[in-house]
Symmetry: C2
Subunit: 338 residues, 2 copies
């Protein structure tokens, strides 16, 4: 963690995510303690399997949004800790269930949980964390928060089911894709920020600003993620390049590259996405198509747009270090890809 | 559904579950309407897959407990409808996730959802129903109810994970088995009855009586279910006999039969439960061991005990048709096996 005296002076070398982390450091430490306490269970496999994902170096961006929103709104209680831990549990449960269903082999640079413990345990531990998240929310005594996050959870599941329809389907439209992203990713970013903001009694405008920020940040984040899956940089971050490709997910880079494809490229996409088996050179060829058609660049341009919308959502807020860090995170989210 | 004039006179030919159903018929009809309304989604696959399980002829025993508890306690509002629908959704989500993880092939006489729609959709629709359950609970505005059912959900997941440890493991103790049953099955029965009772403001004794009834009924119910899996009657109910056997689950009939096994029988159990592949004659041999050692009878005796405890839990309640039906359900649950 950053020391207080470095985080102001060394801003150039410190990512805005780290800056925000430092600004909410006490609350984040309390959240981490709660995460580790509440993933405990008399059933040893539960903390063991949870730890695998929870301690694997994720940035805790979503709970940080909850904490930042609460702090920005001047909240002085401690319910945001429960809430932030619940948000991280919902996110982790989603990842665990995604590991099972997508048969992906790498997650945050580690072997996916389902390959170590099997599908059964992975689904069930996800269910446990999800239930625990609701228990923690109940402890806040806030029905509003439960409303926001139970709704978001249903939307996330809808988004994941919608995504199934676009698998192996080159007829997937950009509109469908954006709906999926809005549901499976942006809904939790939005709910994380909104629920933290509702604790504050700062009025509906503040809550709406935080929700809107979270939502657009989430879309930008996912667009960049999907672009990175066709980029060599992804490998440096410990995630396998070509995950989406191997699972025949039709993400925006593919939608755009396919729309701009000549005959041979069209046939290539049909074979590798809608057709049969892929070989390793196929991924290289896909990356080259995605790059040469400008599909990556175009995906990043859309991401840039949503990052700008996220920053604009913060406009009405008084200047503060947290506001600045949130705005910079939106920019950084896009810039990390270059 | 039974007509009002038959349900009193024809009690001999009508199961107590049907009697209870008739006693809460209006609320049950409203619950069914809510179930069908709230499993709806703009994502067509969600109601399609949910319907497969929800409309497959389950008895809705768990939501009926919620409605019965509320009615017994003189509750006059309509929150029990949300609650009962939420309980059924949690149950359905559990079944869907169980279908995925256990690779069972028959569920209520139909092909398991995962074989029709795949693991992915089955896990995710389960997640959707689970989230929806919490949304419906939030609509009741009762934090107490959310507390009860979020805790029960976590306990259910713990129970399912605990059960994994006893798979293929003949060292499973009766104590471990009963812990699993208490968590994976009885917790939802208990929470279903308790949450309906908490709506009533009838005091903690009434709530505790309903909770205790639900818990013991749930244990009896699971014990009978596990006995039936080694019985020809199971086939008549549209469920595959030998499901637990094929999945190498170590249930009470197996624990007891193994404890009483002679050398050849011990070797048989080691081979089919801890060892390698099974053949169809193995199931017949297992059934014959389970029957000849008295393990089925002994399992049913334990079930009888828990049914008695369930009935005893109702003792303090004033006589009523609902109370009588609940008591008879506990007896019927055990007697259906003979």
């Amino acid at each position: 963690m950053l020391k207080p005296d470095t985080r102001k002076t060394a801003a150039g070398g410190v990512s805005p995510v780290e800056r925000l982390h430092a600004l909410v450091a006490d609350a984040m430490a309390a959240t981490d303690r709660m995460i580790h306490a509440r993933m405990g269970s008399g059933v040893a496999l539960i903390p063991e399997l949870s730890k695998h994902l929870i301690d694997s170096g994720g940035k805790r961006l979503r709970p940080m949004l909850t904490l930042a929103a609460a702090q920005l709104g001047g909240y002085t209680g401690d319910k945001q800790i429960n809430l932030a831990a619940a948000v991280e549990f919902i996110h982790t449960a989603t990842l665990l269930h995604d590991d099972v269903v997508d048969a992906s082999t790498l997650r945050r640079g580690k072997v996916a949980a389902n390959l170590v413990w099997g599908n059964k345990a992975t689904v069930l531990v996800g269910d446990f964390l999800f239930s625990r998240a609701f228990e923690m929310m109940v402890d806040t005594g806030s029905l509003r928060v439960l409303d926001i996050l139970s709704h978001a959870s249903a939307v996330i599941a809808e988004g994941e089911v919608m995504q199934l329809k676009s698998e192996s389907n080159l007829g997937t439209t950009e509109e469908h894709y954006l709906k999926v992203v809005g549901a499976k990713t942006a809904a939790l970013f939005a709910a994380a920020a909104e629920s933290g903001a509702t604790l504050c009694n700062k009025g509906p405008e503040f809550v709406e600003a935080m929700r809107a920020y979270g939502e657009s940040l989430g879309i930008a984040f996912q667009l960049v993620d999907d672009a990175l899956d066709y980029s060599g940089r992804q490998a440096l971050m410990g995630k396998a390049v070509g995950d989406d490709f191997r699972e025949a997910k039709v993400t925006l880079p593919v939608i755009l590259a396919y729309a701009r494809a000549d005959k041979p490229a069209q046939q290539f996409w049909k074979r590798v996405i809608e057709g049969g088996p892929q070989s390793e050179p196929d991924l290289e060829r896909a990356i080259s198509y995605v790059e040469s058609t400008g599909a990556i660049q175009e995906t990043m341009t859309r991401a840039r747009h949503y990052a700008d919308v996220a920053v604009a959502a913060l406009q009405s807020l008084a200047p503060s270090e947290i506001k600045a860090a949130l705005a910079d995170i939106a920019d950084f989210c896009v810039e990390r890809a270059f």
